[in-house]
Amino acid sequence: MQRHRPASACGETTFSGHIVAVARSQDHGAFAALFAHFAPKLKTYFRKFGMVDGEAEELAQETMILVWRKAPLFDPARSMASTWIYAIARNLRIDAFRRNGAHANEVSAAEPFQTQDDAPDAEMQLTTAAHQALLHKAMHLLPQEQAQVLQLCYFSDRSHSEVARDLGIPLGTVKGRLRLVMARLRRALEE
C-alpha cells in the first residue's frame, strides 16, 4: 500500500514500517533506526521549551520508550509516523510541565485529566508518503514571517498574545498568519 516511496518523502514509509516491526516482533533493529533518527530531534524539541540538557535527554528517551510500548496502537493507515511520535512527545511535555514547579497545583480538581488523544482521522487521508511530501514541501515554501510564527507557536510555551508581544506585532496578525499557514497546507493537499 505504501510501497512506492517518493524520494522526497523523508523516509515516512520507512519509519512507519519500523514502528510496525516493533509492534509485530519487538524488532530491536527497527527500534534502533527510529531512535537514531528521532531521539536527537526530540531532545531539541524539549530543549526549545527551556528544559536543561539532562531533562531533555530524559524526555527524549521516555518518548522513545512510549514509541516502543504504544507501537501496537500505531496504525499506518491512519497516521504518519512523524505525527504519531510528535503527539507522544507533546503529551509528555504537557505532563512534565504540570509536574514541574511552574504550574504546581494547576489542576486542583480531583479528576483524572487525560492528555489529548487526537490521533488524526482516517478521513483526513494524511497518511501516505505522497501527502507527507506535499505538506512538507508547502511548509518549506512558507513566507519567512509565517514560518517564524509557526516556530514560536509549536516550539515554545508562549500564548498567541505572548508571541505577538515578542514579535512586536498585533495579536490579530499572529492569528492571521496561522490561518494563512493552515490554508496553504490545505491547498497543498488539494493539488
Binding site: 509492534a23 519487538q26 527500534f31 531512535f35 537514531a36 528521532f38 531521539a39 530531534k41 526530540l42 531532545k43 531539541t44 524539541y45 535527554e57 528517551q61 522513545m64 520508550i65 516502543w68 510500548r69 507501537a71 501496537p72 496502537l73 504518519m80 512523524s82 505525527t83 504519531w84 511520535i85 503527539a87 512527545a89 507533546r90 511535555r93 504550574h103 497545583n105 494547576e106 489542576v107 486542583s108 480538581a109 479528576e111 483524572p112 485529566f113 487525560q114 492528555t115 489529548q116 487526537d118 490521533a119 482521522d121 483526513m124 494524511l126 505538506l135 512538507h136 511548509m139 507557536c153 509549536y154 500564548s159 498567541h160 505572548e162 492569528k175 496561522l178 490561518r179 493552515m182 497546507l185
Partner: protein, 230 residues
C-alpha cells in the same frame, strides 16, 4: 479520535477559530479549554480534520529540527529501560464507540475522561459543577464548568477578561452571537458581555471553559460568581 458521527455532523454551525485548533494541536490550551475544544471535536468532523492537519504540521516541524547530541550510550540505556515489556502486550483504554445516539452529556463526559459531576443549585433553573480549576497563568485562573439550565432561563449577564469557550452537550442556548445547539462551540473573546438564554424544549447542558476573571452583573450574578470563585 473516534466521534459521534452521523446526525450531529453537518448540523454544527459554530466552530472554534483555526488559531484555537492550532493551540489545541500543540498542547497549548491548558486542560480546561482543551477539554471544551475536545468536546466539540467529538461532534465536528471539519474541526477534527483541521486539528489533524495542525498535528501533522507539528510532526513535520519535528522532522526539520536539528539534532541535539545524545548522552553516550543513550540507545543502550533506553533499551535497558524497556526491560521485559513486550510491545504487543501493551493494551490501552478501549476505543470510544463510533456512534451513540442520542449523544447525551453523560456519554460525552465519559469520553472526555471526566467523572460524573455533582451538580449544585446556584440560582433558579441553573445548576453548576466545577469540573476543574487551574490556578496561576498570566490572566488569572481558568476553570471548567458544567451547567444545566432550564429552558427559558437566562444566565446572569457576564463579561470576562480572557476567552470563554462553551460547548453544548444537550439542548441549546442563544445569545447575541446566535443559536448554539449540540456540538456547537461558542468562543467569546475577552471583554465580550453576553446574556445566554437556554432554549427549549429540554434542559441545556454545556461545558464552559473560562479564562481570566469572569464578571457578572447584578446581585444574582455576583452571588453566582462568588460561589463559583471565578
Amino acid at each position: 479520535m473516534k466521534a459521534v458521527n452521523g446526525a450531529a455532523d453537518g448540523t454544527i454551525r459554530h466552530h472554534p477559530s483555526e488559531e484555537t485548533l492550532v493551540s489545541y494541536a500543540v498542547g497549548g490550551l491548558g486542560p480546561a479549554a482543551g477539554i471544551a475544544v475536545k468536546a466539540h471535536l467529538l461532534y465536528c468532523r471539519h474541526c477534527r480534520a483541521t486539528t489533524a492537519l495542525a498535528v501533522a504540521a507539528g510532526g513535520l516541524l519535528l522532522l526539520d529540527l536539528p539534532p541535539s547530541p545524545l548522552a553516550p550510550g543513550a540507545l543502550q540505556q533506553t533499551l535497558d529501560r524497556l526491560g521485559g515489556t513486550k510491545a504487543a502486550q501493551m493494551r490501552e483504554t478501549p476505543a470510544q464507540p463510533a456512534r451513540l445516539r442520542p449523544p447525551g452529556a453523560a456519554a460525552a463526559l465519559s469520553w472526555l475522561g471526566l467523572p460524573a459531576p455533582r451538580l449544585r443549585w446556584v440560582s433558579p433553573g441553573v445548576r453548576v459543577a466545577v469540573l476543574l480549576r487551574e490556578s496561576g497563568g498570566a490572566q488569572g485562573g481558568k476553570a471548567l464548568l458544567l451547567l444545566r439550565v432550564r429552558p427559558g432561563v437566562a444566565l446572569p449577564t457576564h463579561g470576562h477578561a480572557g476567552t470563554e469557550r462553551t460547548c453544548v452537550l444537550e439542548g441549546a442556548f442563544a445569545d447575541e452571537g446566535g443559536r448554539y445547539g449540540i456540538g456547537d462551540l461558542a468562543e467569546a473573546e475577552g471583554g465580550y458581555n453576553h446574556r445566554p438564554v437556554a432554549e427549549g424544549p429540554a434542559d441545556c447542558v454545556c461545558l464552559i471553559a473560562t479564562s481570566g476573571r469572569t464578571h457578572f452583573a447584578g446581585t444574582l450574578g455576583k452571588l453566582v460568581g462568588a460561589w463559583l470563585k471565578i
